[in-house]
């Protein structure tokens, strides 16, 4: 009963949307700017990015020179965040690390969300044979264990002599290729339900084309879900870089990333005795993740067709 009511209400609202489509995005932007929390989230992300990309330019330690005499020193005037086990400046390394971690985190998130949404939406919309094919491929991919895949990938990239600097991006691409099934299933589920709602029946009656139905009527309804999923994944994506490094697929030392810097705390001694090794990268990841999520929430609020009041 409740469902029917809500769907009707929604159908009326959404059905009326295309007419004021021209101003939709600018309206959304205005609303977004009014949301202080979202704006501050965006500001933090930008700030982190600027510090990471521009910060090292002002650091005297960018060459990452090894200096055993300065091993594991706590924060001081010379080294604001202390030094690591090879006497390198932690602050400089955190900033340099941010460049890679931010890029990798965002890129891998965008890629898997894009693939997942596209395939899931198509499967859910067309159903039948399309759905069967996509979802059975998804099933197959879900059963594949990740470990051997990464090892094989590592061996192949090594045999093909792909420069280590590029390997990480290739692997990220590959991971997205095998990792879309989860999100796709979720999007498809939502889609299966949405396409049966009354507003879609109205769209059918109006004789709208598939593309129009898909992009103007269905996908906007999926946006809240997509944003939640995407922003939730960003933390995992940043950390996953350290996993790739572990398999020799990520960045090569001595290049720092937040993921491999925080891994330094993976033993009781460093964890207890040298907190300056793991606090900076930890806080950086935390700040980035929370800022992106806050921003995502704001974005969701203004883009969600159901939220317009």
């Amino acid at each position: 009963m409740e469902n029917v009511d809500s769907v009707k209400a929604k159908a009326i609202r959404t059905g009326s949307r295309p007419r004021r489509r021209s101003s939709l995005w600018s309206q959304a932007l205005q609303q977004l700017l009014k949301n202080k929390l979202a704006v501050s989230g965006l500001a933090v992300v930008m700030l982190v990015a600027i510090v990471c990309f521009a910060g090292p330019l002002f650091s005297p330690y960018t060459d990452n020179k090894i200096n055993m005499a300065l091993m594991n020193k706590p924060p001081s005037m010379q080294h604001w965040l202390g030094t690591d086990k090879l006497g390198r400046d932690v602050l400089t390394r955190v900033m340099q690390a941010g460049r890679i971690s931010l890029t990798v985190g965002l890129a891998s998130m965008v890629l898997s969300v894009f693939l997942g949404t596209l395939l899931g939406a198509v499967a859910g919309y067309y159903r039948g044979i399309v759905d069967q094919v996509i979802m059975r491929v998804a099933d197959l991919l879900l059963t594949i264990p990740g470990l051997p895949l990464l090892f094989i990938c590592g061996a192949l990239l090594s045999d093909w002599k792909v420069p280590t600097d590029y390997r990480m991006y290739i692997v990220m691409l590959m991971l997205s290729l095998v990792n879309w099934p989860g999100l796709a299933r979720m999007i498809r589920g939502q889609m299966l339900s949405l396409r049966e709602r009354e507003f879609m029946q109205a769209a059918v009656v109006l004789g709208l084309r598939d593309r129009r139905k898909l992009f103007y009527h269905l996908i906007p309804n999926l946006i809240p879900l997509i944003i939640v999923m995407a922003t939730l994944n960003i933390g995992g994506a940043i950390l996953s870089e350290s996993v790739l490094s572990f398999f020799g697929l990520g960045v090569m030392p001595p290049t720092p990333t937040w993921g491999n810097m925080i891994d330094a705390a993976n033993n009781m001694i460093d964890f207890q005795e040298h907190p300056w090794l793991w606090i900076p990268p930890g806080v950086s990841i935390f700040a980035t993740v929370i800022a992106i999520n806050v921003f995502g929430d704001g974005l969701r609020d203004v883009l969600d067709p159901k939220m317009k009041r």
């Binding site: 009963m1 409740e2 469902n3 009511d5 809500s6 209400a9 929390l37 159903r127 039948g128 759905d131 069967q132 979802m135 059975r136 099933d139 197959l140 879900l142 059963t143 594949i144 264990p145 470990l147 051997p148 895949l149 090892f151 094989i152 590592g154 061996a155 989860g182 299933r185 979720m186 589920g189 939502q190 299966l192 339900s193 049966e196 879900l225 939640v228 939730l232 933390g235 995992g236 950390l239 350290s242 925080i262 705390a265 993976n266 009781m268 964890f271 207890q272 793991w278 930890g282 990841i285 935390f286 980035t288 993740v289 929370i290 999520n293 806050v294 969701r300 159901k306 939220m307 009041r309």
Partner: protein, 318 residues
């Protein structure tokens, strides 16, 4: 419906067949084999051993042999542990299941509760606090949370044991055994719950916000129903529906073991076993375990599709 189910079951079998071949080849192609890791062996002895284990045969032949035995219910002997694979599953799988089942239960209960409250009080201080906590948990690696709790709760405060499943050397049985296990599993369950609860909370919060804003909730309130009833019986039910599909996905996770947590807390689970078998390239065990998870994954997805239809009868799949 039964036609649909029948079709799906046929597809399932086909997928599992394809998956088994794919998985077998993946393991076979993984660089290194069971023999190569032992540097004490001379090249001649290595060749001899590969002959004994049949590792020198073509992949397809090995696969056919494995499949034949597997269809007869024989998953073979673990090369490293020299025990039947099924015996090993029995020794380790249930320990992992115990952790996963308990923490999944808590994860869902807590996520639903927090999700509902923070949706209801969107942008309140409670909501903000939850938000910060959730993201703190999500932006830290799990080993980190584990080590932190071990340091504080086990080493400094000595409230709980730092790891394992039993007090070393204990001969406890019955009730004493039960409490001992509970004692030891508390920390790992807490960590797993912390790790899992974050995203699920966000998910429920988001669903709940959607639902609360809808007209039938306004109607319910207008009817003069108590807020609690509106929230928990009208809104929650609808917010939970999309989550039903997640149940299917939990299935493989329940049996898959948790690699990091088991390692940090020394929990004798299948996740650790898988990891050590992988680094040794213990093919029979790897294959057996991965196929078990594959079967559960496929069943899980079927289950979630069926549940979806149950949750939303309007859905048609074909």
């Amino acid at each position: 419906m039964s036609v649909y189910l029948g079709k799906r079951l046929i597809y399932m079998t086909l997928i599992l067949l394809a998956a088994s071949l794919l998985i077998f080849s993946l393991y076979a192609l993984t660089p290194g084999d069971f023999i190569s890791g032992n540097i004490k062996l001379t090249p001649e002895r290595k060749a001899e051993l590969r002959e004994i284990y049949g590792l020198n045969k073509p992949v397809l032949e090995r696969y056919a042999l494995w499949m034949k035995n597997a269809l007869h219910g024989d998953l073979g002997y673990s090369l490293a542990q020299q025990k039947p694979v099924l015996t090993l599953f029995n020794e380790y799988l249930w320990n992992s299941f115990l952790l996963a089942a308990v923490s999944t239960f808590f994860t869902w209960v807590i996520a639903v509760m927090i999700g509902v409250i923070s949706a209801y009080k969107q942008y309140s201080w409670f909501d903000t606090l939850v938000l910060v906590a959730v993201f703190a948990a999500m932006s830290l690696p799990s080993f980190f949370i584990g080590l932190f709790l071990i340091k504080i709760v086990a080493v400094d405060l000595k409230w709980l044991p730092p790891g394992g499943m039993l007090t070393t050397g204990s001969n406890a049985t019955g009730w004493a055994y039960f409490t001992e296990v509970i004692h030891h599993m508390t920390l790992p369950v807490i960590v797993m719950t912390i790790l899992g609860v974050g995203s699920l909370t966000r998910y429920f919060r988001s669903n709940m916000i959607d639902v609360i804003k809808q007209d039938y909730i306004r109607t319910a309130r207008a009817k003069g129903l108590k807020e609690g009833k509106v929230l928990f019986s009208h809104a929650l039910r609808n917010a939970l529906l999309p989550a039903i599909t997640l149940v299917g996905f939990e299935l493989p996770a329940l049996f898959g073991g948790s690699l990091i947590i088991e390692k940090i807390f020394n929990w004798p689970g299948i996740g650790q076993l898988y990891m050590s078998s992988f680094s040794l390239r213990d093919y029979p065990l790897l294959m057996g375990f991965t196929m078990l998870i594959a079967v559960l994954t496929v069943i899980g997805t079927l289950l979630s599709d069926l549940l979806y239809r149950l949750a939303d009868p309007r859905v048609r799949l074909h």
